[in-house]
Symmetry: C2
């Protein structure tokens, strides 16, 4: 059932039927009802390919997926996707993942924009002065950044959590508990979120005249193994840190293992706080010692990004509004006063 057939059985022109269906004003309300009714009865669904060719709109949102043998997709992605999908489903939006060579995402961005494959894109894990951001900005496709970049002379729309504030709070708590030697096991420090977290920790320390030693900060890919290694190296020093702030739950698993291996205890010898993106399959309260966390649901972020993308596509949102979500600090058993 296509438009031609439908309009023919209604004895109307395609123009009128199309307009009736798409809510244009120049059609009699009664005619519109007739059309809507017939469309529903016959299960008419406009062919998206045709509509696309005519309008240039695809009804999909895009994401360029960096791939390659050496590239691992972040497990956070799947939770973000849950949220995104949740919203997208309710609004009949599809998501297209365009795999790209991790060393050359630009080509792919250009392609999907030139081909009008998607109406909007989102960008995640941005770095300072991220090229993708500049590119997408000049290409003129609606977009939202999940996270933040820095060092541009233009503004852009984003959704981020208050990473600096979160880690500031976490560090401040530890300092108040008497800890003087803090360490930070961070994610890849070329990504903005890691920079912000480091900034937060440093600021909290500075407020009490403390500093974050060069050797007390580790920046690694967020795997269990890297958490373990970083923690071991930190704890095997002559004067090991008495508290660690850690950028992910998965790394925290490694930290806990390292502490055990060394015969130390949490929170007796070491206080630990980690950031929790809220995975259904790994919860901080179920750690051997319940883990204190800075908590922010990445899933909700996914839903919000989808919502804002939809708003931008339909012109309801404009400009470069940045949105920063506060982060909860949830204190559990893994923190205590500094050892004497």
């Amino acid at each position: 059932m296509n438009l031609k057939q439908l309009s023919h059985m209604l004895s109307l022109s395609q123009t009128t039927v199309s307009r009736a269906l798409n809510g244009y004003p120049e059609v009699n309300e009664e005619t519109r009802r007739r059309v809507m009714d017939a469309a529903k009865r016959h299960g008419y669904r406009p062919n998206p390919s045709a509509r696309r060719l005519a309008t240039g709109k695809s009804g999909m949102i895009g994401y360029v997926l960096p791939t390659g043998a050496a590239v691992d997709i972040d497990p956070h992605f799947v939770e973000f996707l849950s949220g995104l999908g949740d919203y997208a489903r309710a609004h009949e939006l599809d998501l297209v993942l365009s795999p790209a060579d991790a060393d050359d995402e630009e080509t792919t961005y250009r392609r999907i924009v030139a081909n009008r494959q998607v109406d909007a894109v989102y960008i995640s894990s941005p770095r300072p002065a991220d090229k993708r951001l500049a590119l997408v900005n000049t290409l003129g496709i609606p977009f939202i950044v999940h996270g933040r970049s820095e060092g541009f002379d233009f503004d852009y729309p984003y959704l981020d959590i208050d990473n600096e504030g979160a880690f500031h709070e976490a560090a401040r708590l530890l300092v108040q508990l008497g800890h003087k030697r803090l360490a930070l096991i961070n994610g890849n420090d070329r990504e903005t979120f890691a920079i912000h977290r480091e900034r937060g920790v440093r600021r909290a320390l500075a407020a009490s005249g403390l500093t974050l030693g060069e050797r007390h900060i580790r920046s690694v890919t967020m795997t269990e193994e890297n958490g373990y290694r970083a923690a071991r190296r930190l704890l095997e020093e002559a004067e090991p840190p008495t508290a660690i702030v850690c950028s992910s739950l998965i790394m925290a698993l490694g930290v806990v293992r390292a502490v055990r291996d060394l015969g130390r205890t949490i929170p007796g010898d070491l206080s630990l706080v980690a950031h929790d993106d809220v995975f259904p399959w790994l919860r901080p309260e179920n750690f051997p010692v319940p883990l204190s966390t800075t908590r922010s649901s990445i899933r909700l972020a996914g839903a919000r990004v989808a919502e804002r993308l939809a708003a931008r596509i339909s012109g309801l949102e404009e400009g470069a509004r940045g949105e920063v979500w506060p982060v909860d600090l949830v204190v559990r058993g893994s923190v205590a006063g500094a050892p004497a």
Copy 2:
């Protein structure tokens, strides 16, 4: 730059240019070269929307993503995606994720097929007599199942790992080591993979005249917490199992925690084997006691599924070929002879 312009500057018809570009035989080889050359020089890329409308082919593969507030996307998904993306990138295939209400995926399948939004789809985590499979089979769109179903009167193309064989081997090893009370912490037993794994364990036990007691099998969603709970319940029995086979690394984390909480040890009191899908961020060799596993890279499976989907789209693969990958049994420190 579109076809019209290109053909005009070559003083050729659109027909000829189109044919030259798409490798049709009825065009002079020299003309073809000229065309190809000009196309490349001017960076001509056929508009996919137009091509789509004309041919009905989209150049994308589809996946219906079950969503909902209560639905969690499996973290395995992201690894599978890595592999899929790896292949897809090399062949300029995009992947479209169509979020669907988890209780009504049918509507979405029908929509994407009717709209010809994708050239092929894959289905994951199938159950016995899975409705999606029957549906997709009648809808006539090329597809591949990742995993297997059962109880159909038709064959279908799939890629699966030898779950039964893998768990058979694991259980057999444990039996040989003298274990008589085995337990299985399985995934959702409405999914085929879980059924196959259970079958494998039972078969190994049966071969030695043993059985898997009703209470010695747990079927749960694969989270750390569920692994913990299942293990606790098993180990707190009067006659606890001396060996556990576990369907995922994440659940194994919980099992390890439970064992510790109860003051027992691995492998002294309990031998443990788990299935490993090979995540970059959590490795069995890094468990407190290196974990024995049945190992199969879900990432490679993703790449293979993409490859076969591409083959089916272009007509290179036909029929209902099933492909079953063997699974490695990797023995590490977490297994030992049964305690006296």
